[in-house]
Symmetry: C2
Subunit: 228 residues, 2 copies
């Protein structure tokens, strides 16, 4: 057992995961930031993840490449499916198959090696855009499975998946991060930023982000190509 309390934090470079990292730091944990490059359409998010990990004092940052585009099935990894600009109902085409299951599994692998007590993930059940793997019952089931999967679990070491944002609105998340000193200008939420790094202003992610800032009363540092 390490005297230092450790956590693996999934960091995408977006607003939510950045706030989750800030919370893990506030909780007094030595943080290991993990970014998974699963074949998203752009690299701006990955550069943002590096900036965020450094700015918020992560002990280490690793980026793991994983070609989920091989499986297809999502507008975020499959070039033949357009990112929608009209709000959808039900489960959107930007859903990446089993995404959070894959991300949490990789985080669990690193957590086991580090002897970390938790994985932090910035999922959110309020503005979750219809993704099944953002619901509390999924997170609970993953934690239960993880404690049965690992050497640490078998030896009785506690482990849990922490979702500090799960019950918060986007505005609440922004207020929480702002209170913890997060500079959201470093983060990228847009599914399809332009070459100058500007957010499109019309995708689902831009919509939730802009609306969140409006409701939070925190000034929005995002540069949008089009105002949604």
């Amino acid at each position: 057992m390490n005297a230092t309390r450790r956590a693996v934090v999934l960091v995408s470079g977006g607003l939510d995961s950045t706030t989750a990292l800030a919370v893990a730091r506030r909780d007094g944990l030595e943080c290991y930031a993990l970014t998974v490059d699963y074949g998203q359409r752009h690299a701006a998010e990955l550069a943002a993840a590096q900036r965020v990990a450094a700015a918020l004092g992560a002990a280490e940052h690793r980026c793991l490449r994983l070609d989920l585009a091989q499986f297809g099935g999502s507008a975020l990894t499959d070039q033949s499916i357009d990112v929608p600009t009209v709000r959808e109902t039900g489960i959107p085409v930007t859903y990446v198959p089993a995404r959070n299951t894959v991300l949490l599994s990789l985080a669990l692998a690193w957590a086991e090696v580090l002897g970390a007590e938790a994985v932090y993930i910035g999922v959110n059940a309020v503005d979750y855009s219809g993704y099944p793997d953002c619901r509390p019952e999924f997170i609970e089931a993953f934690g239960r499975m993880a404690r049965l999967a690992t050497k640490a679990g078998v030896e009785g070491q506690p482990f849990e998946v922490r979702t500090p944002l799960i019950a918060l609105s986007k505005a609440d998340i922004i207020r929480l991060g702002a209170a913890l000193g997060v500079d959201y200008g470093m983060t990228v939420s847009c599914y399809q930023p332009d070459e100058g790094g500007r957010a499109c202003g019309v995708c689902d992610a831009c919509h939730f982000r802009a609306e969140g800032f409006r409701q939070s009363g925190v000034a929005d540092p995002t540069r949008y190509a089009v105002r949604g």
Copy 2:
């Protein structure tokens, strides 16, 4: 829904996963073979996986590269830890952190895109060598989590993790595969085969394999460098 019943089968090129693929084919399923190259020490296993998928009539075979060696912690992916030649007690150093969780998560992602009804994995609780993620309670917990994680699960489509070998001895597995026409000469079990493709004869995997053939009464086609 597809009229064709589909399964994703995790195929490593070893004896167990080859038998699992033979069982999935016997069960009448169109099989999608998935090999994950997670930074093992040799490529012989990957070549074996390709031979096996083709020989047993998989509809497709994909190989996904994933650099788990970045996390360290196992003799199978970490060059600084020696593969042991003396039998250990407890959880061995060849244990890869959260390995089956990661493998099953990736299989789940593909299964969701394919509309597959199951993932087959050749885990075994009898000769499982002390790995926590080979136990039935882990598999059960993963299946429960997976049904909560996916679009298919949310929409009520059945999905399960099938482990046809979980209660079989190595000898039983070999007899089952032989009855289904598997040529085990195509498979590789050894953790450290030599450049000519011969098994070392002294590692854990060689030990279980050789002993299994001895007890099964099936002729062992394996070429060993050293007879264990």
